[in-house]
Symmetry: C2
Subunit: 296 residues, 2 copies
C-alpha cells in the first residue's frame, strides 16, 4: 500500500470518527464553556491513529465499522483527555499543541481540568452504550479500556514519567513507562476493535492483536525520541531537543540514533508478522510501517 | 430508628466498603506515589453515605450486599476523585479537607491530578467487572454512572458552579447546578443499588428510587447552605461563612434560614414517602431524616 492510499484511508476514518464524536454533544447554554472546551481539543485535528486501529481490527475479524465506532470514539476521548491534563501547568505546562494554544490557555485551567474529566467519563458512557455489540461485549470493553487507561495503565505511565524527571531510569523502567503511558491505550484501541468483531480474550487471534499493538506502541515512542533529536521543529509542529534540555531518560540515553531506528524497525516487523496472515491486514501493516518511518 | 442505631449501621457499611476498596490495590514500587495518593483520599474517613445508599437499595429490592458492593465502591471512587480535583489550586484551592491537608498539599499538584484521574478510571473498571450481577447489568450501571458523573451530570454542575462565582444565579439555575453537582451522583448510588438487585429502568420502583435520591440530594445541599450560615466551625470541621464571603448564590440568597429548613424538611418527607411503602426501608428513611437534621 502506498503512503498516499494510507493517507486517504486515514483521512476517511478521521472523518467518520469525527462525525460519530459530534453526535455525543447536545447543546446546553448553562454548560457552554465546558462543551466548547471539550470540543476544542477533541476536534483539533489529531491523526486519529487509535480509532483507525479499532475500526481496522474490527473489520479484519469480520465485524462492522458501525460496531467499532463507539469504541473508537471512546478511545479517542480518552486520548484527548490525557493530552489536556498533560498540558496543564502542574504537568508539562505546554502553551501549544499541534500549533494551537493548549486547552487551558484558551479556556482557563479549571475549565480545562473539567473538560478532561468530562471526556474521560464520557468515554465510558459511550463504550458501555454500544448497542451494535450488546452488553456482554460492552462490559468487557469498558473493563479492558479502563484497565489500560488507569492506575496500572496510562495514568501509571504518567506517574512514572513524572518520577523519571527527578532521577535516571533503567532501560527496563523506560520500557515499562512507555508501555504504560502510550502502549496501553494503543492496545486498548486494537483490542476493542477485535472485541467488537466478537473475538474473545481466549481466542489466539487476540494474542496477535496485542502483539501488534504493543510492538507499534513501543516503536512509536522510540521514533518520537529520535525525532526529538534529529527532527525539524517546523515539520514536527513542536519544539525539538526538549528531552536533552530536560536531561530526560529516553531511548537515546541507551542507544545511538542508528541503533534506536534499528530497534524500532525490528518491533515494526514483529507487529506486521503478527497480523500479516489475516486477509485484509494491508492497512494495519501500512500503519505500522508509516509509524516507524514518519518524519512528524 | 434511633440515631445511634443509624450510626452503627453506617459504621458497619463504611467498614465493609473500605475492605472492598482495599482489594482493588496491588502494590507496585514504580507507582507508589500514585497509589499512596489515591488511598490517602479514599481512606480519609468519609461518611460513606453513597455506598450505604447503594447497598441499602440493593437489599430493599431483595439483592445481595455482595452484588451491590462493587457498584458502591465505584461510586465512592468517583466521589473521592471529585473532591481531589475540586480542592486543586485551579479550582477551590483548599488546604484542608476533613481536618487533614488536601491531596495536592501532601503529594503535589501533578500527583493529585493523576490520583483523581486514576480513581475516576478505576471506578468504571470496577463497575464493569461486577461478576455478581453479570454483563447486562454491569453495562447499564456503567452507562448510568458515567452519565451522572459526566458533562451532563456532576462535571456539568461543577462548571455551573465555577460560572456562578462570576455572576448571580436564578433559583432555577441554582437548583439545576446542585441537582447536577451533588444530586446526580447520589442518584447514581441509589439507582446502581436497585440495578444490582435486578430492578430495571422501566420498573415503576426505579422511579421511587430516583425520587428518593433527587429529594435527599437537594435537601442535603440546602442544609449545607444553612450550616455555612449558622453552623459551628469546630463541629463542622471546616470554615463557615465562606459562601457570604465569596458572595456566592446559595439557597439563602432566596430564602430565610427558617424557610430553607422548611424546604429541606419538605424534600425529606417526599423522599421518605417514595420508599416507606417497601418493607425494610427503615434505614433509608433514617438516612433521609438524618441528612436534613444534621449539625455537621
Amino acid at each position: 500500500m502506498t503512503e498516499e492510499i494510507l493517507e486517504l484511508l486515514m483521512h476517511r476514518n478521521a472523518v467518520i470518527t469525527e462525525e460519530a464524536l459530534k453526535k455525543y454533544y447536545v447543546e446546553d447554554e448553562d454548560l457552554k464553556s465546558l462543551l466548547d472546551a471539550e470540543r476544542y481539543s477533541l476536534f483539533a485535528g489529531g491523526k486519529r491513529i487509535r480509532p483507525l486501529l479499532t475500526v481496522e481490527f474490527c473489520k479484519l475479524f469480520g465485524g462492522d465499522e458501525e460496531a467499532a465506532l463507539p469504541f473508537a470514539c471512546a478511545v479517542e476521548m480518552i486520548h484527548t483527555y490525557s493530552l489536556i491534563h498533560d498540558d496543564l501547568p502542574c504537568m508539562d505546562n505546554d502553551d501549544l499543541r499541534r500549533g494551537k494554544p493548549t486547552n487551558h490557555k484558551v479556556f482557563g485551567e479549571s475549565t480545562a481540568l473539567l473538560a478532561g474529566d468530562a471526556l474521560l467519563t464520557g468515554a465510558f458512557e459511550v463504550a458501555a452504550s454500544n448497542m451494535a455489540v450488546g452488553a456482554e461485549i460492552s462490559a468487557k470493553a469498558v473493563a479492558y479500556l479502563a484497565s489500560c487507561a488507569g492506575r496500572y495503565g496510562m495514568v501509571g505511565g504518567q506517574i512514572m514519567d513524572l518520577e523519571g524527571e527527578k532521577r535516571k531510569l533503567s532501560l527496563d523502567a523506560l520500557i515499562k513507562l512507555h508501555s504504560l503511558k502510550t502502549g496501553a491505550l494503543i492496545s486498548a484501541a486494537a483490542v476493542l476493535g477485535a472485541l467488537a468483531a466478537g473475538v474473545s480474550f481466549t481466542d489466539p487471534a487476540m494474542a496477535d492483536v496485542v502483539t501488534y499493538a504493543e510492538n507499534i506502541g513501543l516503536a512509536f515512542q522510540i521514533v518520537d525520541d529520535i525525532l526529538d533529536r534529529t527532527g525539524d521543529a517546523a515539520t514536527l509542529g513542536k519544539n525539538v531537543g526538549v528531552d536533552a534540555e530536560h536531561q530526560k531518560s529516553t531511548f537515546l540515553t541507551f542507544y545511538s540514533v542508528e541503533e534506536a531506528q534499528f530497534y524500532a524497525d525490528r518491533l515494526t516487523q514483529e507487529a506486521i508478522s503478527a497480523v500479516r496472515k489475516y486477509p485484509g491486514s494491508e492497512t494495519l501493516c501500512a500503519v505500522a510501517e508509516w509509524l516507524s518511518t514518519r518524519k512528524k
